[in-house]
Amino acid sequence: MQGHFHKAALAALAGSVSLVAQPWFATAAFAQAPIKIGFVTTMSGPEGVIGRDIADGFNLALKHIGPKMGGRDYQVVYGDDQVKPDVGRQVVDKMLESDKVQIMSGIIFSNVLLASVKPILDAGAFYISANAGPTAMAGKQCHPHFFGVAFQNDNNFEGLGQYLKDKGLKKIYFLAPNYPAGKDMAAGFKRFYKGEMAAEVFTAFGQLDYSAEIAQLRAAKPDAVVMFYPGGMGINFVKQYSQAGLMSQIPLFTGPGTVDQTTLPAIGEAALGMYIGAMWTEFGENPANKKFVADFEASYNRIPSQYAAMSYDTGRVINAAVEAVGGKIEDKAAFQKALENVKFDSVRGSFKFTPNHFPVQDYHLAQIEKDSKGRLVGAFRQTVLKDMGNAYGDDCKMPAP
């Protein structure tokens, strides 16, 4: 009993000492606690190949950054959402509650992101999206702590719409999976392409066989086909489109993430000649991109996809903002300001955030061809839109920090 009392007295004494010493002591503790970053992406299942590229791109950025951000240690916690909104939500909850993450990123699919983003933002954490940019987050649900580094979902299809309008193509056949990003891409396309739509078809998410849809589109005799099928769906669609003999008859256009280095090895030569609307290609001429592509190939022995490029940029956006606040990300208003005005050398060349926290950047047209080593790549053709923001700025009433 007496021993206990003795210890308690000692503890109180120690407490008062530390109280006196607080300014010095607190800074030291503050500098020692590492920044916690939660990286949730799709590691398992067919779409795991995208998750691998996103994680590799992010890890390459961390390798280039080194062991400290803004003079402070950091830790990254990884999680797998299995492309299931409910699983993603559970992983996010666990990271917020037991790992106490402060910054999150990595979710690929818009439907998974939309299910998880509210608990993240409610917990006061920041979400820096390396891929998904759903309309809701750019417009009505825009949030001071949410930033989209890659694109707003509509963007690349706005570029395609502009290109097809410029080319004077008349009847367009549009296909996408029936989920939020599919609807966003259709909306983006029609915002810039004002001509006739032969049809807009939304298929079940994860559909394997498109023979019925391809027969319908052949019968409609469109001038061009525009489709958005990320991951395995894209492999199936492009192979089947080519096997139906249509690749040489009706030009096929798609956005990023459908026909890229995550799917081209499986599609093979069936993809030759098709067009891609993209904000990044392997051949971007700026020094940041040359370094990224060369180091990625050296580290992982394959060409990076746009997913990898965007998460590489995401890692560097986070680092640049953390450096700008000297590692003190607990000052959330300052960290938000640092993100809004972030300065870094993007692999896309020029980059800045719009007031609703999505990129202002250029959009290009690329075409699938073989490079000097016989590998299938997206080769730059032309720039379609310059310094584009997004259409949802007016819907976003960004609350003051």
Binding site: G45, P46, G48, V49, R52, N178, V201, F202, T203, A204, G206, Q207, L208, D209, S211, A212, E213, A215, Q216, R218, A219, G232, I235, N236, K239, Q240, S242, Q243, A244, G245, T262, T263, P265, A266, I267, G268, A270
Partner: protein, 290 residues
């Protein structure tokens, strides 16, 4: 819908149907005769596709690859039956579901270990990779016609074996009354192994043909397994004839449902059909033990 488009969609529906039949044939026999629910059937389908893709890459010969893939998948099926599933025939369905679900995970990770996460390419020989002009307005992918022909031939062959041969008689006897068949001197153990290996071979064949038109990737067997279970249940568990008819119905209804109905309804239509058929005939179209 014009006549030529209708013909093309009908071909698509029948082609999808025979594909489903190839996958379901083994599942329904194993379920009907051995009373075993094999969720790992989709893993055999995936194995067929991956082995064929690898063989095409290394030998460059499509036909050699087909033979090797089908034989190898039958072998994998036989080993799986001998080593693991044989012990579960007498156990209840929950145990069977658990062990075969575990097998799915094991197979997926083995494939990931060997081939990696990136989907692989199954390259078709030149003449099969294009399309052919069937009628004035109907241009149809050549390989889908091959699938159609192979599927119908296999269906005919299975019909002949099951209805007109001694082994077929044993299989039917085993399906309708197992203890009686074994009391009459049928080597039930041997029949089980044969049926399982044959079902695995068919799943492998279906997998490699599907791999030529869609992507060969880890987990490709699971979505297909669900449809195969629907076919098995609609057709009547253990009935080859039922599986064939149910597969064709589902293939055609799904194809036309997708193009004629709104998207949400189109992807539900086969499950609504299943509910309707089961309400009308709770044991499926051709119940074996009726």
């Amino acid at each position: 819908m014009s006549f030529s488009l209708f013909i093309e969609q009908l071909l698509n529906g029948v082609q999808f149907g025979v594909m489903l039949f190839l996958i379901s044939a083994g599942l329904t026999l194993v379920f009907g005769i051995m009373n075993l629910i094999n969720l790992a059937h989709g893993a055999l389908y995936m194995s067929g596709a991956f082995i064929a893709a690898a063989m095409i890459k290394y030998t460059g010969n499509f036909f050699v690859a087909v033979v090797v893939a089908v034989v190898a998948t039958a072998g994998i099926g036989a080993v799986m039956e001998r080593l693991i599933l044989r012990r579960f025939y007498a156990r209840d369905h929950l145990d069977q579901v658990l062990v075969t679900f575990g097998l799915i995970l094991v197979f997926n990770d083995l494939v990931r270990l060997v081939w990696g996460v990136v989907p692989v390419q199954l390259r078709l020989p030149g003449p099969f990779s294009g399309s052919v002009q069937l009628m004035a307005e109907v241009q149809y992918p050549a390989f889908r016609l091959v699938i159609l022909a192979v599927g119908l031939l296999v269906a005919l062959g299975l019909y002949f074996v099951v209805v007109h041969t001694r082994i077929g008689m044993w299989i039917r006897a085993g399906a309708s009354n197992r203890p009686m068949a074994s009391a009459l001197g049928v080597d039930v153990g041997l029949i089980f192994s044969l049926v399982f290996a044959a079902g695995a071979a068919l799943a492998g064949l279906a997998g490699l043909m599907a791999g030529a038109i869609s992507s060969v990737q880890v987990g490709m067997g699971e979505p297909v397994l669900i449809l195969a279970l629907v076919v098995t249940v609609i057709g009547g568990i253990g009935s080859i004839r039922g599986a064939f008819l149910a597969a064709l119905i589902i293939g055609i209804v799904d194809t036309f449902g997708r193009v004629l109905l709104p998207p949400a309804l189109g992807s539900m239509v086969i499950f609504m059909l299943m509910a309707a058929i089961l309400a009308w005939r709770p044991k499926g179209l051709f119940p074996v033990n009726a």
